[in-house]
């Protein structure tokens, strides 16, 4: 802007100078214009000719008798003629004569001739003088005419020269005028342009200002610009609203305890500690909380923002409370999950204990069978104790100290618990690679982590699938807490065949409270707990997931060498037969718990039935398909391997109508909720049951056939007890 103004000033100065210069030029030329108008020497020559002619005429008249021309007259004319000839020999005429030799000689001869005429004029009265004078003058006629013509030509040439000079000056002035006009026009245009650009700049500035104002008045914070002395220069409505209607120093200081008015009568304010740019919160007596920031500006002064963060602080507190509540809720959810499964397990155990104890009471038999029966009771009771122990460990609140753990053994130990946490349509598989290493971890936390992973896997497989828990050693694919890249680490993986996690959410799954589950279904703390556990144990967590192909979460732990080896038990299909009393018929048993299977099969055989045992539904189905004939299918409702007892019963009824069906369960309500209550023709024997109840149920099943349907299987149980087989 300044540069433009300077340029404009220079142009104006130039214009002024040019105008003065032109004025000076015109004045100078005016003088020279007047000077070019030179004297017309042709007039002098013509005067001389005229006076010569007049003198000649007077001289001629003088000699004529009766003429009024006297000697005085003639002398006057002679003097006048001499004065004219004198003009031809002086002044500007000499210039002409210098350029024209002929004219010069003519003037000389004229002078000489007139000098000769002088005496004749003086004695003109004498006889013959008049004629003599005529003779002297006569030869001058022609030179006079020649001189006049030459002078006229010279004068004309001078006029022409003057004209040329005038034209030249005209050209100069035209050029100067045009230059001046262009100059002026340029000046006007540049002024106009400058004006336009000024207008544009001003409009832009105003728009910018409006935007700035809008920005300041629309930010949520109260904002004020303080000058060097701490005086508020600009402030927005929010600022006024928080600080008070009058943002004076006193009210500011009153509103914000950390601000004090500057002393010494100076208006202004600053933070108590003015040394640094600060941000701090202040709780005021009215319960509101203010966040105050002050930043020094480069050009002096500072920016002050005040924000009412009361709601935010309140929300923060509420969020922390909610977090605690959610953690509690999650624990409750886990407990709820476990309750059913535990009940099932305990019922199984109780069934064994009750049955065997009953036999011992009724008919202890020989010592060997007492020992066998008591052993089974003992084993079942031990398992119950173990289960209780696990529950206690899981439920323990205090943090447990890490211990050397055979990870595979630990996982295997918790499998029954985990099994209860998943629905029956999910098969749990285990793959334990042999290892000589162990981990140094907190057992209950590891179990809790596993439970969390299994629950997640279950939720990812709404329609069933396979859940594989594997342990072993592998090389770390990257440097983690568990070990450097390429180092051997211990892993515990939980893989499902579920829906998988989309890549956009994969990065967030470890965040606390991040959940993709429906409200109330999950706390969002599961994986973060796993993560926290792994990190705390010096390890890490890896997650690998593909949409549609399931998810594998691996806990990686540092190796701790040990000599322990792991062995696993395997279950197989066993067929037992026991020839016995009154009743007869072929019973196909399906029971996943081997101890229960062994015990119940023995009981059924003791009732006189022949028993074929299987542990899964598909196994039972394939036996039926192979052509084996059974009178009764006696199946547990809760079964592993993707098909439960209710589903098995439906298939068998359709394909093998001759086979009667008896279901048993200690935990059936949930299955019924998911698959519907079985047809009324199927009886249900609730666990735990005693031998007479079993005998009655089997008998009723075989005898009932297509007959007397019962609406509520729960009610048939009691009357059945009365009738022993």
């Amino acid at each position: 802007m300044g540069r433009l103004r300077l340029l404009l000033f220079l142009v104006a100065a130039l214009f002024l100078a040019a105008t003065f210069y032109m004025a000076a030029l015109i004045a100078e030329r005016q003088t020279s214009l007047k000077e070019v108008s030179r004297y017309n020497i042709a007039w002098l020559a013509s005067q001389a000719v005229a006076e010569y002619t007049r003198f000649q005429q007077r001289a001629a008249a003088f000699s004529v008798a009766g003429s009024d021309v006297d000697k005085d007259e003639l002398e006057l004319r002679y003097d006048i003629l001499l004065s004219r000839i004198g003009l031809l020999q002086d002044g500007e005429f000499l210039e002409f004569l210098r350029s024209n030799k002929d004219a010069s000689s003519i003037v000389q001869s004229l002078g000489a001739a007139l000098a000769d005429a002088g005496p004749l004029v003086r004695r003109i009265d004498a006889e013959g003088a008049s004629l003599e004078l005529m003779r002297v003058l006569a030869p001058l006629d022609r030179p006079m005419a020649t001189l006049a013509a030459a002078a006229s030509r010279y004068g004309a040439a001078r006029v022409s020269e003057d004209q040329q000079e005038l034209l030249r000056l005209h050209l100069i002035f035209s050029g100067l005028s045009a230059g001046l006009a262009i100059f002026g026009l340029t000046l006007i245009v540049s002024l106009g342009l400058q004006n336009r650009s000024l207008d544009r700049a001003r409009a832009e500035l105003m728009a910018q200002n409006a935007r700035f104002d809008a920005a300041i008045s629309n930010i949520p914070q109260g904002l004020a610009l303080l000058d060097r002395n701490g005086r508020p220069v600009i402030s927005n409505a929010q600022f006024t609203q928080i600080v008070g209607a009058d943002p004076s120093i006193t009210s500011l200081a009153a509103a914000i305890p950390d601000f004090v008015p500057l002393g010494g009568g100076a208006m202004g304010m600053r933070l108590r500690d003015p040394a640094v740019s600060v941000a701090s919160t202040h709780e005021r007596s009215d319960g509101t909380t203010l966040l105050v920031t002050q930043r020094e500006m480069a050009g002096g002064g500072s920016v002050l923002t005040i924000e009412d963060v009361t709601d935010r602080v309140r929300a923060d507190r509420q969020r922390k409370q909610l977090e605690a509540q959610l953690q509690q809720a999650q624990k409750m959810e886990a407990v709820g999950q476990l309750t059913g499964g535990i009940a099932h397990d305990f019922n199984n155990l109780l069934t064994v204990i009750l049955g065997n104890a009953e036999i011992l009471v009724e008919d202890p038999g020989d010592e060997e069978s007492v020992q066998l029966l008591a052993g089974m009771i003992l084993q079942a009771a031990e398992r119950g104790a173990d289960l209780t122990h696990k529950l206690l460990a899981f439920g323990r609140r205090q943090s447990l100290t890490p211990e050397r753990l055979d990870v595979a053994q630990c996982v295997e130990g918790i499998i029954p618990l985990l099994r209860r946490a998943v629905s029956e349509n999910i098969e749990i598989r285990t793959e334990f690679a042999p290892t000589k290493s162990s981990a140094l971890v907190d057992r209950s936390l590891l179990e809790s982590a596993l439970l969390n992973l299994v629950v997640n896997a279950r939720d990812a497989m709404g329609h069933g699938g396979v859940l594989t828990i594997s342990t072993g050693e592998r090389l770390a694919s990257k440097s983690t807490g568990a070990g450097q890249e390429g180092q051997r680490v211990l892993f515990i993986s939980v893989a499902d065949t579920g829906t998988g996690i989309p890549p956009e959410v994969l990065d967030r799954v470890f965040e606390p409270f991040f959940t993709t589950k429906e409200v109330g279904k999950g706390s969002g703390l599961g994986l973060s707990m796993v993560y926290g556990f792994a990190e705390q144990s010096g390890g890490s967590v890896e997650i690998d997931s593909q949409v549609g192909n399931g998810t594998t979460v691996s806990i990686l732990l540092p190796l701790v060498l040990t000599g322990a080896a792991i062995e696993k038990e395997e279950l197989s299909v066993k067929t037992m037969s026991h020839p016995d009393s009154g009743c007869s018929g072929r019973v196909l048993m399906v029971e996943d718990d081997p101890q229960v299977l062994q015990f119940v099969a023995a009981q059924v055989e003791s009732l006189g039935y022949s028993v074929t045992s299987t542990t899964t539904a598909p196994e039972a189905l394939s036996l039926l398909q192979s052509g084996a004939k059974f009178d009764v299918l006696f199946s547990d409702v809760v079964l592993p391997g993707g098909m439960n007892g209710v589903e098995l019963a439906q298939l068998v009824r359709e394909r093998h109508p001759a086979t009667r069906i008896l279901l048993t369960s200690g935990y059936a309500e949930e299955v019924f909720a998911n698959f519907g209550r079985p047809e009324t023709e199927n009886l249900i024997l609730r666990k735990p049951y005693k031998k007479p109840e079993l005998a009655e149920a089997l008998r009723a099943t075989i005898e009932g056939g297509a007959g007397t349907p019962e609406r509520n299987p729960a009610r048939v149980q009691r009357p059945a007890l009365e009738r022993a087989c």
Binding site: A27, R38, S83, L87
Partner: protein
């Protein structure tokens, strides 16, 4: 230029006032009769006369009006020339001229018309002497209207050269 002219006009005005005062007293005096042969006759719109409605002047009468001196260059002489004579405006006042123009008539019957204001404006004189000598007829005498050509460039033009009549014998005020 402008300033010059304004200054000139102011001084001319002052001069006019003085002359007006002088001429009133002089106009009151009757014009004396020339003692020698008259060399100038003034006719026309004049109030002071001495012979048949005309004012005749001999050399002495003219010189009595006050001789002034002009040195100027002219087209007719080489180099500057000193002329001595009387101010024409004073002469006009002496005869109580009331017209606007003066027609000068020379001995050879050459006539030229001069606006009377020229006399005051430029200080034109009716010269009697050139180079300290009375001018004869042979030297464009006895009376020669001379402008101070060198005083201002505008005088160096055909107009004023033309108004500079030689051998003036009679003035007619119109």
């Amino acid at each position: 230029m402008h300033m010059y002219r304004r200054g000139f006009l102011l001084s001319a005005f002052g001069l006019t006032v003085c002359i007006a005062a002088a001429s009133t007293s002089r106009a009151a005096d009757p014009l004396p009769v020339p003692r020698e042969r008259p060399i100038l006759t003034i006719t026309g719109k004049i109030s002071s006369t001495n012979k048949d409605g005309a004012a005749q002047f001999d050399r002495a009468m003219l010189e009595k009006l006050g001789m002034v001196r002009i040195e100027t260059s002219t087209p007719w002489y080489q180099g500057p020339v000193v002329f001595e004579g009387i101010r024409l405006d004073i002469l006009m006042d002496a005869v109580g001229a009331t017209g606007e123009r003066v027609v000068a008539i020379a001995l050879n019957d050459y006539t030229t018309e001069i606006p009377i204001q020229d006399f005051k404006r430029y200080g034109a004189i009716l010269a009697l002497k050139r180079g300290g000598e009375y001018m004869s007829v042979r030297d464009k005498g006895p009376l020669f209207i001379v402008y101070p050509f060198d005083s201002t460039p505008e005088l160096k033009s055909q107009t004023y050269y033309g108004r500079s009549a030689w051998q003036v014998a009679q003035l007619v005020v119109k």
